[in-house]
Subunit: 187 residues, 2 copies
């Protein structure tokens, strides 16, 4: 009988990220990950359904986080103001401190069609959570769907731009610029 | 040795659509599709990699179609004007005549996570083709990515609204309304 391993989840994530970076995603096996972490494959599958999910483990909380952020905004906040405020919080707390890790992750995703597919799924789940949040706030369904899509588009495009640049522009600044570009494009 | 079967592809598509509608996507097997079409599974796999791809067979031409439409627009056409014109053409020629088939397809996709995933992929491919088209027209990369995403969002949201409504509003009208809602949402 295996017992609960202190920090097992984090050790497995760390080992997986190291191996993905060293030898690529496709070439890395679950036994290699568990060997590096000093744990068993049985322990691995207690935390993750497959090696792909190691990269998305921290996203499970995202829909609940979105629902909470949206429910806590004052009822009269305009939808786009709510989005911009939410993006500022997310950019500063979740993205800004992890720029190098996010860059490594993006490179990894580029190499694997299965990861790209999983990224699209993650994006759809986020959009759906935002749409639901607006519906709960009384926004009509078409507008809720549009603003949710605008939000995930802004994140995707601005994040990409931020990770590609070599200067020290902050992500939130780039998000605001991207929104300005979007507004001017729509005429 | 099997020979080329006249109309085989269309017969297989027809049989698959009938069976999906009658008994659901998950319950339908490739041998059932080929039996209904009076063809062999070998013939099936000459046209489609699996039963899912039957539903997406006509989309293979979409990126080339987008590239052609975008290349043929006058060079000074504004990006959003180009999108609106393109959406009008697509709405009138590809969507409007197939409303019931599109409704049946949408119901089918709702029942199956694999189909939803494939729909997301299709959408990403479209967005990428539009982005590329704008890059070729000299639009900068951020703006090209944003307008491409706006375009696929407009189609997705307006198509959904069109298929849900019981009146005889035209899809193109709903697209224009959705664009107006988008503009007003962005403030």
């Amino acid at each position: 009988m295996s017992r609960w391993q202190p920090g097992a989840r984090e050790r497995l994530q760390q080992a997986a990220h190291e191996l993905f970076a060293e030898q690529g995603f496709a070439a890395t096996t679950v036994p290699e990950i568990t060997a590096r972490a000093g744990l068993t494959t049985r322990t691995f599958f207690r935390y993750f359904s497959d090696k792909r999910e190691v990269l998305y483990a921290d996203d499970a909380e995202v829909p609940a986080m979105i629902a909470m952020m949206m429910a806590s905004a004052p009822p009269d906040t305009e939808p786009m103001a709510l989005i911009v405020e939410g993006l500022q919080t997310v950019a500063e707390t979740r993205f800004e401190p992890r720029k190098e890790a996010l860059r490594a992750r993006r490179e990894l995703v580029c190499t694997d069609a299965g990861l790209q597919e999983r990224d699209l799924h993650k994006r759809a789940v986020m959009s759906e959570a935002i749409r639901e949040g607006f519906r709960t706030r009384g926004v009509d369904s078409v507008r809720a769907a549009l603003i949710a899509e605008i939000c995930v588009t802004l994140i995707a495009v601005a994040l990409n731009e931020w990770l590609e640049r070599d200067d020290d522009r902050r992500l939130y600044e780039i998000i605001l610029e991207t929104l300005a570009t979007l507004r001017s494009s729509l005429g």
